[in-house]
């Protein structure tokens, strides 16, 4: 009896095993091909067609490991389509909640949620701001920083200023020049005084200069047409962003703006005055 049972079990294992494996192989080929096709369509921004493929994948193969990832790409399609931001938010949030969610896609999802919330807020949905604010103390600094940066761009200045503590922290602690410049400009928008405090708290080399000042006075005017006080670290960016007419006036006088900056940086608190032919005066100094 025991021998007969063993033979039956063995026959079942040998018979059903390959059948199950075969079935799994067929499924993998199908969900994988759907996924691959969908990703190619996403690559070409064919959002509707990609969405159809992803929905098909999720419907037909709900237990496939790719069905989870499909949620992320669904979020991409929905946000790309426009007008379906709330659906996109749901898709990203569903993906983040998955146990096997990939860290790089989770980071991307968080960033996309912040972007979508920002767009919704710009169209009058003030409640969407909560999505951004709640990420200001996110454990992942990539998410935290991005939320602060986006919040600083919100039109409501009372809300935007809530980004100041995180932005100040970036200025104080970060080394990446791109991130630093972004945080400085964002703070100049929402809270220049916070930028000053953050720069002061930051450990400085003794010889480091702190502030670049530029004034452009038009002929016959006592008020400066252009006035700027910014951290010297933004000097290069500031000079590139100067009005073309002002830059032309400097060039016309035969000055090399890069040399000027180097000279001013060396001789602290010296001032450069450039008088234009039209009576305008440009003053640049560092202290």
């Amino acid at each position: 009896m025991r021998k007969t049972t063993l033979i039956i079990c063995l026959a079942l294992v040998l018979g059903l095993g390959p059948a199950a494996a075969l079935r799994a192989g067929v499924q993998a080929a199908t969900d994988e091909s759907l996924f691959r096709e969908a990703k190619l369509l996403v690559f070409d921004k064919s959002w509707t067609a990609a969405l159809d493929k992803l929905d098909e994948l999720i419907d037909k193969f709900p237990s496939s490991p790719l069905a989870g990832q499909a949620l992320f790409y669904k979020g991409e399609c929905l946000s790309g389509l426009g007008g379906r931001e709330k659906d996109a938010l749901r898709a990203y949030k569903s993906y983040i909640r998955l146990e096997d969610a990939k860290p790089s896609l989770v980071e991307e999802s968080e960033g996309s949620i912040v972007d979508l919330a920002f767009d919704l807020c710009a169209r009058g949905d003030a409640s969407a701001l909560r999505e951004i604010e709640s990420r200001l103390d996110h454990a992942n600094k990539v998410v935290r920083y991005y939320a602060a940066y986006k919040l600083s761009l919100v039109a409501d200045k009372k809300e935007a200023v809530k980004a100041a503590p995180v932005l100040s922290r970036i200025v104080e602690t970060e080394k990446d020049p791109e991130l630093l410049d972004r945080a400085r400009i964002a703070l100049l928008r929402v809270s220049p005084e916070s930028l000053k405090s953050a720069e002061e708290r930051k450990p400085r080399v003794e010889s480091t200069v702190r502030m670049l000042r530029i004034r452009v006075m038009k002929a016959g005017s006592k008020e400066p047409a252009f006035s700027l006080n910014i951290p010297f670290a933004l000097a290069d960016l500031a000079l590139s962003a100067m009005d073309e007419d002002d830059k032309a006036a400097i060039r016309k006088k035969g000055y090399d703006i890069n040399k000027i900056m180097n000279e001013l940086a060396k001789s602290k608190e010296s001032i450069l005055r450039i008088a234009g032919d039209d009576g305008s005066v440009i003053e640049i100094w560092i202290d």
Partner: protein, 239 residues
């Protein structure tokens, strides 16, 4: 005027009083500023002169002839002194406004200041530079991947994945700027590269020849490297 004040004790006393008054105004600058704002400075000297002339007449009525010759001289000088007082007050106010008023020029003297328009221009410049940097780094990553197919892994898979992830983070910041400043061509190419990096960031192991072949096929079919170079040229020339 100075000689007269030196000789005439009464005028000297009056001048001293004015000086003390002006010194005291140092302590009440804010009040002066508020008061000064409500005064019609053009009409003020005339008004003061009118009032003093009437007060002068009154004084003459109270004590007509007992005064000495020196006193009479001082009396004759009163309109001049009034003019002097008015001039000093106007001058002090003008000095105060010139040195202390927080006009646009002095607005940011104590701290950082930049106009919204300037910050927009700075962000545009930053978008241009950072997109250029993003495209250059993307080229390196893609070329590394292709070299891996020919000569074996040039960059370890973990490093490549980390680089892809770093570029994805940078791209997040660029998205808004590229849209805001209508840099459509740059946005389109950066979006396509982003999808490739999404794939690369998820692959921690070495890429198989088949995977590299797929990526290479996609890049060549869409002429991504050529497009990257064209957009880079445009950005470098500030277009």
């Amino acid at each position: 005027m100075a000689e007269h004040i030196e000789k005439c004790p009464e005028c000297r006393a009056e001048s001293g009083a004015i000086e003390r008054l002006l010194a005291q105004t140092e302590a009440v600058r804010s009040e002066i500023r508020a008061a000064a704002a409500s005064v019609d400075w053009d009409a003020l000297p005339g008004q003061i002169a009118d009032r003093v002339m009437s007060a002068d007449g009154k004084a003459r009525r109270v004590a007509p002839a007992e005064r000495s010759r020196g006193w009479l001289a001082a009396l004759r000088m009163k309109p001049v002194l009034v003019g002097l007082v008015a001039g000093l007050v106007v001058g002090a106010a003008a000095m105060y406004f010139a040195l202390k008023a927080p006009g646009p020029g002095a607005k940011g003297n104590a701290g950082y200041y930049a106009s919204g328009e300037f910050l927009d221009r700075a962000e545009l410049e930053m978008a241009r530079r950072n997109t250029l940097d993003y495209l250059e780094k993307s080229q390196y990553v893609l070329l590394d991947v292709f070299e891996s197919a020919d000569e074996g892994p040039v960059v370890p898979a973990a490093v490549r994945s980390e680089r892809a992830r770093d570029l994805l983070q940078r791209k997040q910041y660029l998205n808004g700027q590229l849209e805001r400043f209508q840099m459509a061509k740059a946005k389109a190419i950066c979006d396509q590269i982003e999808m490739l990096f999404l794939e690369l960031s998820q692959i921690d192991s070495e890429l198989t020849a088949a995977e590299i072949g797929k990526i290479r096929g996609l890049v060549e079919e869409r002429q991504l490297l050529l497009k990257i170079n064209l957009v880079k040229k445009e950005l470098q020339s500030g277009v």
